[in-house]
Structure formats: C-alpha cells, structure tokens
Amino acid sequence: MDTIFTRGPSLNIRLTLALVLSVTLIFVDHKLDGFKSTRVYLNSLMSPLQYIANLPGLLLSESAQRLTSQEQLLAENQKLNNQLLLMSEKLQQFDVISKENAQLRELLQAPVRETSRKMVAELMAVDKNPYSQQVVINKGAIDGVYLSQPVLDDKGVVGQVMEVGSTNSRVLLIADVTHAIPVRSLRNDIRFIATGSGALNELFLEHVPHSVDIQEGDTLISSGLGNVFPEGYPVAKVTQVVRDESRPFARVIVKPLANLDRLRHLLLLWQNKPDEDESEPEVDDVIDNEEKASDA
C-alpha cells in the first residue's frame, strides 16, 4: 500500500520535526527539569524491557549459586560466622557508646541523632551509558523510594536516587561527573566538596587551597551539609595530593570507599527530617550545578 496518498508528510519535514522535538526535549529535560513526573511513568512503562534484559544474568547467577560445591558453602559459612562474631562484639560496644553519646548530647542540649529507616535493595545491573555512572536498583516508588535519597553499600556512600520508577529506580553514583557530595575530613573536620571524575575509582576535591592540612590516607566522611546525605558515613580516602604552586588550587584525588564497580546489595536510607521541607534537595542540586558551571 505504497501510494502517494498514504505517505504523509515528506521525509524532510519529518526530519525537521524530529530534530526540533529532540532539541526541545533536551532543553526542557536538562535546563528546565520539566519531565520529573513524566519520567516516573516512562520508567514504569519501560521497566518490563529492563527486567527482560536482566533475565540472562539472573539465570546465570542463579545456576551458579545452585552449582556451588558443599566445601565452598561451608567455607563461606565459616567466614560469615567469624565475621558475625567480630561484628557482634563491636555492636556490644556500639550500643553502650551510642547510649553514652545520646546522654552527652542531651547534657549539651544538642539534638539527639535519630536512627532512620533502612531497606536493602539489589542491583539490577542494567545500563552502561559510557558518559555517566548510574545503576538501576530493584526498589521503586512502591517501596517508598524518593528523589535524591541516599544510597550506601557496606563500605560507604554509593550515590543518590536520581529517577524513581514504580518498581525500580536509578541511582546516580558519586563518581559521575555531574555529582558532587559535601564531605569533611575525619582527622581534622575540614570541609570539602568531592566531585565525580567519570571514572569509578576517582573523585576530585574542589577548590582546595595549598595551605590546607590534608594528607594521603585521610578518610573523608559525609558532612551532612546540603541535606541529601546524612552525616557521618564514610565516603572516600585521599590517595594523592599534588601541591603545584603554579595552579590556583591543590589537586586532591580521592578514592571512593564503596566498591562502585562491584555493587550488589545496596542500602537505602530514609532520613528523619522533622523541620525541613521537601524542596531542600532541589536547592542543593542547583547549587551543585552552578558550581560545576563555574568550574567549566
């Protein structure tokens, strides 16, 4: 049925339309952030494809689990038992210390830190866009996941939720070039901002003066400023400090503590925010973007 009447608009018109639409989409999505709510529906619409794409890997890992030998399981069991013993010993101390800490804070009339709700999510290692560092996890709006929710693994901060679907959501890793996280040094409480480099094992510290006391091996923890990440979770370790006086700032390279390249189980945190409104994370985002822009 290829008659001249069924063809519709000519190819050139179609191209112009498509290009104009694409550019509008890019502009509205990137500059105006206009698809926040639409993206949830689009993600939910597309999630069956992601589940299908994830199927081969799932089957493979499942059959691998079934085929593990008894010795391996016993060895693993032994290892986990040892770990459990060590952890519970630490936990005994921790209980006492945290109670003591709460009492001291009460004496100082500082607000007592509340424990927040947590949930374990599994990685649906789905996409690999070479230009950005993101992962998809198997928890979504149904489980209460919200935008810019902090995500951790067993070693440290992993990133924040950037898109929420109904049953899965996308996490922006701290190593992404568009991501920045406020941190402070565990040793001397100096504040920094760690931005991603695009490579999974590197972050940079922005605007570090040459005179600042920072050394290789320093641990950086999240400072809790910006209200996205809760305070006190380990983020990265300083691997290299280059104090080249011909440059305005020292070049500090840090390595994320979380194993960003071998994530499997992730921890979602719900923060108890009694006196802050919902719009806070957005403001933080804007600040981050502006900083990136002034860098470029």
């Binding site: 179609r14 498509a18 290009l19 639409l21 694409s22 390249d261 990136k292």
Partner: protein, 158 residues
C-alpha cells in the same frame, strides 16, 4: 497488516533489550549499536514504513532505558535514519560489505552526535573507546541484514 507491523516493532524491541543487556565491563565497550543496525535495515528495506518517526520514538525509549537526558538518542537516531531513508534506492544497490561501511559511518555519526550533545550539557571528555561500537556494528551488519531479510520474506512484509 497488523501482524506485519508487529514484527517490525518486535524486532526493534529485541534490539532495545540487547542494547541494555548487562555485560561484563571488558566486553561492554564493544557492544554494537543493535538499535541503529535494526532501524537501518528497516529504513532501507521499507523506507515508507520505518523512517524518521519510528527512529525518534525508539530514540526516546532508548533515552529512558539508558537514563540520558530525553532527546539525545532520538536526535542521533533520527538524523542517521533520515540519511539512510533518503538514499535508500542507492544504498539497496550496494553490496552488503559496502553497506557495512555506510553503517559504520552512520554509527560514528550517531556516537559523535550523542557525545557532542552530552559534551555541551555536561563536561565529559572524549575517549577513543566510545567508538568501538562503530567497528562491531559494521561486523554485525551482514548477519542482521541476512536475518531480518529472511524474517521480512517469511512474513512477507512490504
């Protein structure tokens, strides 16, 4: 009629799934542009059915799946498919190997387009690794061509 359209959309869906199937990171760099290759076949074989519109929609789907800013992949795909659909009569007469070179050109155009747009939006740097899919897509083309032509004849889609 319905069933034939279904086959085209099904092939595009399969290509989308193949595009996002998780692979080990050593192999992942070489992942061919499944979606582009499949769209290229249909736009050369049936340029009145599959052209810029379908490419645009597929591109938006891809943006959602890969998590890029909406419109980036749709821009690259519609432009590449436009070039193919506009020259389909000439391209059909080429041998499969010559077509593979054209596919390589389209693939590099597509990758450079998506890189440039994302370079404008965020400060990413170019790595030569980003262009590996061009080679693998060229290698993939004869096989996809053969497979899709068989499918097309099987279901007599025209």
């Amino acid at each position: 009629m319905r069933k034939r359209n279904l086959v085209i959309w099904l092939s595009i869906l399969v290509a989308l799934v193949l595009q996002i199937v998780p692979l080990p990171s050593q192999v992942d760099v070489y992942r061919p542009d499944w979606v582009l290759v499949v769209l290229a076949y249909w736009s050369m074989a049936l340029p009145h059915r599959v052209n810029v519109g379908v490419a645009f929609l597929t591109g938006v789907a891809m943006d959602v799946l890969v998590g890029t800013t909406l419109g980036i992949h749709s821009l690259g795909l519609s432009l590449s498919v436009y070039i193919l659909a506009a020259n389909y009569q000439r391209l059909r007469n080429y041998s499969v190997w010559q077509q593979a070179i054209i596919i390589g050109l389209m693939s590099s155009l597509y990758h450079l387009m998506t890189f440039w747009v994302q370079h404008l939006l965020t400060d990413i740097y170019f790595q030569v690794d980003y262009l590996w899919p061009v080679l693998t897509s060229m290698v993939l083309w004869p096989w996809v061509f053969w497979l899709l032509r068989r499918t097309r004849r099987q279901f007599s889609i025209s």
